[in-house]
Symmetry: C2
Subunit: 108 residues, 2 copies
Amino acid sequence: MKAMSNKSSPKCPVASTMDIMNGRWTPLILRDLLIHGARRFQDFQDSLTNITPAMLSARLKTLEQHGIIMRHFYTQHPPRAEYILTEKGCSLGPIIDAMRKWGIKYEL
Amino acid sequence: MKAMSNKSSPKCPVASTMDIMNGRWTPLILRDLLIHGARRFQDFQDSLTNITPAMLSARLKTLEQHGIIMRHFYTQHPPRAEYILTEKGCSLGPIIDAMRKWGIKYEL
């Protein structure tokens, strides 16, 4: 842990990561993509109880802007998109997996 | 990732962990404790730019209620406390470390 900064400046890598992972929904969106590979908007709606379309749309947009997910059009007429993880997004897997292990050990 | 649930029910271990880690400050409080071992209230105030005493107090109280940190009185007259991680709290280390590694790789 020596390489960690003890200031919450923009340079702290834990803070940088948390700025992306922040909120309850983002880790669950990432979890679904890590499990299933590709997800349509409706798939997330079905999986994430109580998320509103506006919240889901905002989270997906933010993840896309950060290069963590991308849209893949699986039909062009009519245009139908699904979301997939980029390489950068896949690399968040160890964080989600560490959360899952901790949750299993202590919170269930 | 097969053991993950795809429902955000209270039973999902990722959601359970996120309910505790939620917000920008909690991972940074944990980071400081993992680096330094013990921290006084003022140490957190100095380290976490822009956190208000009320926010810090609320985060510490929540972490204490979840059994992740505990107060240790290092003097009794006057009573002076510092915060330390419990065993349960120490076990959040791999999550914070995974966040740190990802932040170093992608966000700095």
